[in-house]
């Protein structure tokens, strides 16, 4: 959205426990259309990073190509970012993560980026359980290239052009579950209450955390015939349950509402509280998660909230037994076996 942001900041601006103000998690001014769902997702990322107090320079932002993939410029301006090529954010994220595990990796993609050209990469980054947050800003269309239907558009859903989509849609949460993702959630750009704690929990999860955020494209796909418009999503959302996220550092002092049904402790010691809502949804059963998504879909509902979580998984580094140090800190002594070792190799080949 294009507007002039005032430079003035109140001297008593609140700061998080590391002393950073919320402003220090912001990025450049957005150039997206006014009302685009993607800007709300950026705001939720800013809020979540501020609240869990991750140092901005310890975050790396990676994206593919699309309106959604442009957004990393609009949050965390003090973080390194990488806007890569269409559909191949996962391979850049994999490289970066393998080179340095001491960073928080936030990947932003679109439904076109992930469900079409990037479907192969998406499957593999999920099954490798790369420690990252992977957000799809899902608007059911290719926003950047003027609104063509994407592979997540529902059968019969029509964009502004008015032609109903004839193809079966790809449900990215189901795909992520089947590919082995260890944290799967769905949310809505218009539901900050749900999205911010999900992002916080996803960042704390040590493994592949996938959030499919339905994020309407106001310019090309926000009409009454579309199943990815604001109105439709608001009216058809069903939640797995309300959740709270309690970072490890706050655990002792935090006061939380009574009556939660289940709590899950993550690797880093932070805790997710899940509240009972209607049905008692079990977030640690992959099969039930797939079934629940399908059941709601058949009822014409979109299941949102935390859908699946494996808190005890091993991430890619653990599976590969990689070196703990960032690769750039390894020197000749660490890496090079030297001339003597080479002589032994030569001798073996004689």
């Amino acid at each position: 959205m294009t507007y002039i942001r005032p430079n003035f900041r109140h001297p008593d601006l609140p700061s998080n426990e590391l002393g950073y103000t919320r402003q220090e998690y912001e990025g450049s001014l957005s150039t997206l259309c006014a009302g685009c769902g993607h800007d709300s997702v950026s705001a939720a990322i800013i809020q979540a990073c501020y609240e869990i107090a991750v140092p901005p320079h310890k975050v790396a932002k990676i994206s593919g190509i699309g309106c959604s993939s442009k957004t990393p410029t609009y949050f965390l301006g003090q973080s390194h970012g990488f806007n890569s090529v269409h559909g191949r954010m996962p391979s850049v994220a994999t490289g970066a993560n393998l080179a340095n595990r001491d960073m928080v990796y936030i990947g932003v993609s679109g439904d076109g980026d992930t469900a079409s050209i990037g479907l192969g990469q998406f499957g593999h980054v999920a099954r490798r359980n790369l420690n990252m947050l992977y957000i799809v800003e899902n608007n059911g269309c290719y926003g950047l290239t003027k609104g063509q239907d994407s592979a997540t558009a529902d059968v019969g859903s029509a964009s502004k052009k008015g032609v109903p989509n004839p193809y079966e849609s790809i449900d990215l949460c189901t795909t992520a579950l089947q590919m082995g993702a260890t944290f799967v959630a769905r949310s809505f750009s218009g539901d900050k209450q749900q999205l911010v704690p999900l992002i916080k929990a996803a960042i704390s999860h040590s493994g592949f955390a996938f959030i499919d955020v339905i994020s309407p494209c106001v310019t090309f796909n926000n009409n009454p015939q579309s199943t990815k418009g604001y109105e439709y999503v608001r009216e058809h959302m069903a939640a797995t349950g309300k959740m709270d996220f309690v970072p490890v550092r706050q655990e002792i002092t935090a006061e939380y509402e009574p009556g939660y049904a289940r709590e899950v402790t993550l690797h880093d010691g932070s805790v997710i509280h899940l509240y009972k809502q209607g049905n008692d949804f079990n977030t640690q059963d992959r099969n039930e998660a797939v079934r629940a998504i399908q059941n709601h879909k058949e009822k014409g509902e979109i299941l949102t909230g935390l859908i699946y979580l494996d808190p005890d998984c091993s991430d890619f580094h653990e599976l590969q037994s990689t070196v703990k140090k960032p690769l750039r800190d390894l020197n000749e002594d660490d890496l090079c076996p030297g001339g003597r070792a080479l002589q032994a190799i030569n001798a073996n080949l004689r």
């Binding site: 320079h57 790396a60 970012g81 806007n83 970066a96 090079c336 030297g338």
Partner: protein, 315 residues
């Protein structure tokens, strides 16, 4: 692959690739050898793109250039592609023992540390050409809490890595990338020159696994009184020495294992050489090139059909 190579060229990301060339196009003869990926790699990707190529010709050189490629990629902040082929990659080869100098240090190129960023009074710019060699300073993620963060992107950007479609800024950046490619000539392995036993106005150029066969052919030809200065090209971009070698000879034979004379054409394009000066000696049936084949073609190109072969007396 080409799309990522274009991204790495434009966004200036170091990378090392090994291309074990085989007979194309497409799946071609997948178990047979060729030197036919020069075009595919030198200018891989859309837009004005150029890549650094290395041409090893022995297993030992694959090893040495492999290590060197990583230094070059970090120094030049661009992809470096090693072009070997199936002749080397799949066959058993006799090799000199591999050697390693234990005092050798890795070249990590121009990277600012937190201390250097702290000492800077001016604003850090990822694409500011501070040394005027086309190579700028980069930072690693997480280095400094306040300074040095930047956005890597395949879209055009200014010196501070901020997106722009300003034509002048775009051209300035593209010209700097050219300057960097010029700088690369000083870093890549120099060609190997072997003068002929007698003064000659003709030379021969070759690379990679055409080396042994070409040297043997030169021996055969010199026995017949045909003397050629020889140059083995080891890298692209071509350095000054390559241009001088061609300039200093009336005619140069270019030996290569592909249909279209890719090295010859690359020389013509990059060094602006009169095509008539470069005579193509080619072989591309998937089997390694032989000395007999090379010498026959050179003889023919020299009008050798009229030359009676001198037979050495046996006995």
């Amino acid at each position: 692959m080409s799309e990522f190579l274009g991204l790495a060229y434009f966004a200036e990301v170091p990378a090392v690739l090994f291309d074990v060339q085989r007979a194309g196009p497409s799946t071609g003869m997948p178990t047979r050898t060729q030197q036919s990926d020069l075009f595919a790699t030198a200018y891989a990707s859309h837009g004005d793109t150029k890549h650094v190529l290395l041409f090893p010709s022995t297993p030992k050189e694959c090893f040495e250039m492999g290590a060197q490629a990583f230094d070059l990629a970090d120094r030049l902040q661009t992809p470096v592609i090693l072009l070997t082929d199936l002749d080397l990659g799949m066959n058993d080869n006799v090799s000199e023992p591999l050697e390693w100098d234990d005092s050798r240090q890795y070249d990590r190129g121009k990277v600012f540390s937190a201390e250097q960023l702290d000492a800077m009074t001016e604003r850090f710019g990822r694409y500011v050409d501070m040394d005027n060699d086309g190579i700028c300073y980069r930072t690693f993620p997480g280095t400094h809490p306040k300074k040095g963060a930047f956005f890597t992107r395949g879209t055009s950007r200014d010196e501070y890595a901020v997106y722009t479609e300003d034509g002048d800024v775009y051209v300035r950046n593209m010209e700097r990338l050219l300057r960097k490619f010029e700088t690369a000539k000083e870093y890549v392995p120099a060609p190997e020159i072997t003068p002929a036993a007698e003064t000659t106005s003709e030379g021969v150029l070759f690379f990679g696994t055409s080396a042994d066969a070409t040297r043997e052919a030169l021996d055969m030809l010199s026995g017949e009184g045909i003397h050629l200065d020889a140059m083995r090209i080891r890298a692209f971009p071509f350095s000054r020495e390559v241009e001088d070698f061609i300039a200093n000879h009336e005619r140069v034979f270019v030996v290569e294992q592909n249909r279209d004379g890719q090295l010859r054409k690359l020389l013509i394009i990059e060094c602006e050489i009169d095509p008539k000066k470069l005579a193509l000696v080619r072989h591309y049936n998937g089997m390694p090139i032989t000395a007999r084949n090379i010498s026959r073609q050179i003889r023919q190109l020299k009008g050798g059909a009229t030359v009676t072969k001198i037979r050495r007396k046996v006995g």
